[in-house]
């Protein structure tokens, strides 16, 4: 999952001309990686096309991931 997400971030960063970090770690802070709110919205929409689910619409208690590790965990938790 992590590799897939990092690959999609790379693809959309290239398409939209965003400068994002190359060296993604579990504890990379998302808002310090070069993605902004719009970047995340596009990433989540693109992942929904790819994975056919948006975990952020499926949660009872909302989670706001701070790091890549937390973001990946959200997708893992809701993978069918």
């Amino acid at each position: 999952m992590k590799e897939k997400i990092v690959a999609i971030i790379g693809e959309i960063a290239a398409e939209y001309g965003w400068r994002v970090i190359d060296d993604w770690q579990e504890d990379s802070v998302l808002l310090e990686s070069g993605l902004d709110s719009l970047g995340f919205a596009i990433l989540v929409a693109r992942l929904e096309e790819e994975l056919e689910y948006d975990p952020f619409t499926m949660m009872d208690e909302p989670v706001y991931p701070r790091t890549l590790g937390e973001f990946v965990a959200v997708y893992d938790r809701y993978a069918s």
Binding site: E15, A41, V44, A45, D54
Partner: protein, 441 residues
Amino acid sequence: MKAEALSSIIGGFAGGQTVVSSVGARLTVGQLLEHADELFRRSLVTSGSRIALCGLAACDLITSLTAFDGRVGAMLLLPAFADSAARDRFLAAAGCTHRMDGDGIRVLPNRLEEGCSSDADATQWLLPTSGTTGVPKLIGHTLLSLTRTVKRDVAKGRGFIWGLLYDPCRFAGLQVILQALLSGSLLSVSPSYDFDRQVEGLIAGGVNALSATPTLWRKLLMDGRIRECPLRQITLGGEIADQSLLNGLKHCFPAARIVHIYASTEAGVGFSVHDGMAGFPAAWLESERAPVPMMVRGDGHLLVRPATVPEGAETAGRLDADGYLDTEDLVRVAGDRVFFSGRASGAVNVGGNKVMPEYVEEHIRRVDGVFDVCVYGKRSSMMGQIVAADIVCESGVDSAELRREILRYCRSVMESWQVPGIISFVSELHENAAGKRERKT
């Protein structure tokens, strides 16, 4: 009778009370009134003057509003425009005689003050709005129409320190400023629009009341540092507030009063909901208990009857015989709740920024290889909506290459939030029974 001016409201507070703070600097009521008086005297304006306030920082804007409200004919509030042609169009449309920016105030050439006096009993506050068609228009307010629903409970207000995350010259920012000023609260402003520095400023300023769009609240929660602010008042506006975010905020700030505001620049102020639930109670429709009289028209448009109707042809055309204003917001009633479902015009709301699909379509059609295109808003759990485009390409065109070209072109001519976040290639687009392009929702 002359309406009460901002300076006289502020003059009612103790002179030593702090009104605005910003990284160590503080401005008291006494200093604000003194600076405002000095600015007024230096400006040589008359009651017929029409002053454009262009891209002012919060402190300068507050001083200018205090200086000129009640003393000039009109004030035009403009955010810091990148596009000077748009700014000049607004200046001409508003008949501005003076222009004030960070460098000071100056008289505009070739603009005569008609009659040099104004019969109006209140200064007009002119605000640009993207309007129903996406073409910016000016809407005329007064201090009274802008603050009709502002709480003026000074005993309560004194305990609040409001943070300002919005551009002070836009409607949402102005609402925060006026709320803080009129209720005797302290306003903490950041000298920077950089998110990191803004958050640092909120924490350093001890902010306990904050207004932001749902998109910005999600960002603040992701960042996490906002938890260091002892928030007691949380306000959401500018976009539809969903239940998930309201729950998330309640979870982080269990003691805070959470309010989502429904407001439109056109209608003045609408109403606020503070029961922690998305939408608003259906009992408010055609009910005495409603904060403003409202009803849902047969086609799902929400109509409100504002106490003061803003001036301008734009609003006049949207009033019915009973004084109800078409908000052009679509709602649906589900059980005892009314939920917002978007704009009747099809405008896409990307984190509080309005995008007209037709504008994006017109641009995409210019890209070689595009046969047809349909742009619409795709629901986003992060930003409310993002722009999506369905493309029919000409035969023999490589869709991957076309996709890159569309994005490259859109990025070169549009704001980032207008550029499609999702592009799909389809074999055909559909029209509805009336022959109109069917936009997905």
